[in-house]
Subunit: 133 residues, 2 copies
């Protein structure tokens, strides 16, 4: 018998905000999201941040820390939400989630010299994308 997964049905606000992020071609910032969902009744920052926190927690979206922006996870409902790798173009700011199993495994297995056991990591690569170089 395979491991059961909780359905992770999204609440109303979570669904609205996830839909917006998911159909966006670029990472969205919290206040950009807020402006775009006000017509749907989400009027205040805490509503947005609470939904974002939850969506990050369950792996539906990721936060690009260096940009304070959020993207939908592209990796099959994100089994690897605890192991994120992004590529960021320093010119046009286009951001992609890097899916490299070898890299992810390598990093997931990494242990430092202080005997610290890592549960999670976030890696952000910067450079110039094809178009901008």
């Amino acid at each position: 018998m395979t491991k059961m997964h909780k359905e992770n049905i999204l609440s109303k606000n979570q669904q609205i905000i996830f839909n917006l992020i998911n159909k966006s071609s670029e990472p969205l910032k919290a206040y950009t999201i807020l402006f775009n969902v006000q017509k749907k009744g989400i009027k205040a920052p805490p509503q947005v941040y609470r939904a974002l926190d939850k969506l990050v927690e369950i792996g539906k979206i990721h936060k690009i820390e260096s940009k304070n922006a959020f993207v939908a996870c592209k990796n099959s409902n994100c089994e690897i939400s605890k192991a994120t790798v992004f590529s960021i173009c320093e010119n046009c700011e286009i951001i992609d989630e890097v899916s490299d199993v070898k890299l992810s495994k390598y990093l997931s297995k990494f242990n430092d010299k202080n005997g610290m056991k890592f549960k999670r990591f976030n890696l952000e690569f910067f450079g110039l994308c094809k178009k901008c170089k």
Copy 2:
């Protein structure tokens, strides 16, 4: 003849702020820095942020993106300021710069499938440190 290095003499504000960060046992946030250097005549946020930007640029300090905090570089005046790796304890928030040549080389050589050439990366590992686990 060996390659010449610019001295990178710090300006007054840069030196004050670097000294503070360098002697701190933990990452410092911009406004914590501001409060701590007001007696030295640095009174406004832009003065702090400008110095921080410069110090990051020349590799004397690094920004921990997930914490909006700054630490002094521990790697011999930081030849590798474009390739940073940190370990962060999720409980006590202690942060260390990870110096693993193999890891750094592996990541520096990494190229993604979109033909993007990376110039820089930042990796943040999260877990529980020895004490907290």
